[in-house]
Symmetry: C2
Subunit: 187 residues, 2 copies
DNA sequence: ACCTGAACACCGTTCAAGT
DNA sequence: ACCTGAACACCGTTCAAGT
């Protein structure tokens, strides 16, 4: 899915843009100035737009690998019988990845939900991993059968957003703990 | 807390700015252009800044009443023995108010957490109501004793944000249902 | 005491001209 | 095939000048 330009200078520029964007987004969040990204990468603004027509495309380029890792990790957990704590561990990972940059939880949530998003393909692959993990956990009787993967990912993206906004020691763990208790609850 | 200017023209301008901002925020979210607010209100941009030094001050002016209503509603529920569904009903109300404008959940969350926020005083009053309601529910054995009001408000603000981002029929109710199950769960 | 609006600094996005 | 950078439209914020 990630477009690899043919010309060597184009490949170099693309790589430099990704590196620079990563550094700047990590520093100031995903709404950092694209002009500054281009400036720091040493290319003209038009070059940035040629490689990444929208900010979301740039984000997709940056976050693709991370989403693949999440899918792989979910599949790795399938080996053993899947307990609630395995699910919680994976959700913690998901929240943590989603919090890589300030502003990213929003893009992940939208990427999961909207076909038009440049992140959609990668998010869908990641959701596939989650769905397999959840199915195994349900089969093992570890979590409720009446809660969708989609809703769980949505609420955990919400938690990632909360933590991004107000942080606070241990808050992520406490809020994720509520999700675990809801998943484990018998109704 | 809401400053009432002495001069009649100033009072009129303040009121017009609030009306106009409400309409525009409802239409485009809380990051709508302040220049357009001033333009539509028929005042110069400097007048807007005199009345509301920051966007957050404007939001505080708009949302004060709503937060007071939430506090009152929580106290009204204290009359009867407080069950889980009462708590859930109030949380639904909180989520709904927080979703008045796109972008508002963020300001509410930050207003709850940060003393510096112009929304902090109103949010704190509202949190007071929530705290009394929760205490009554705990005393009645309706909800767990080991979950803080603060954390519940935070996760529900997260849900309001999720719904603001991706909506979806019944999603708000399903996610709030997870919070209810977590609150009702025995550990 | 309050209002006006020009001025400054910055940004997103497009596109004609170049190599 | 790709890069450059000027051009356009828009915005947030401040502040000297007015009434």
């Amino acid at each position: 899915m990630s477009s690899a330009p043919r010309r060597a200078d184009a490949r170099r520029n693309r790589a430099r843009l990704l590196e620079t964007a990563h550094a700047l987004f990590a520093e100031r969040g995903t709404d950092a100035s694209l002009e500054e990204v281009a400036r720091r990468a040493g290319v003209a603004i038009g070059t940035l737009y040629r490689h990444f027509p929208t900010r979301e495309d740039l984000l997709a380029g940056l976050f693709e690998r991370s989403l693949q890792e999440l899918a792989d990790e979910a599949d790795a957990l399938l080996a053993e019988p899947v307990g609630v704590e395995d699910v919680l561990g994976w959700l913690r990972l998901f929240a943590s990845h989603s919090g890589t940059y300030r502003g990213l939880p929003r893009s992940v949530l939208v990427g999961l939900d909207e076909e038009g998003s440049p992140l959609h393909a990668s998010c869908t692959r990641m959701q596939g991993g989650a769905a397999r993990l959840f199915a195994a956990a349900r089969a093992a009787g570890s979590i409720r059968a009446d809660v969708s993967t989609e809703d769980v990912l949505a609420i955990v993206a919400g938690i990632a957003w909360v933590v991004e906004q107000v942080g606070g020691d241990g808050r992520a763990d406490r809020l994720l703990g509520l999700v675990r208790d809801a998943l484990a609850a018998v109704r």
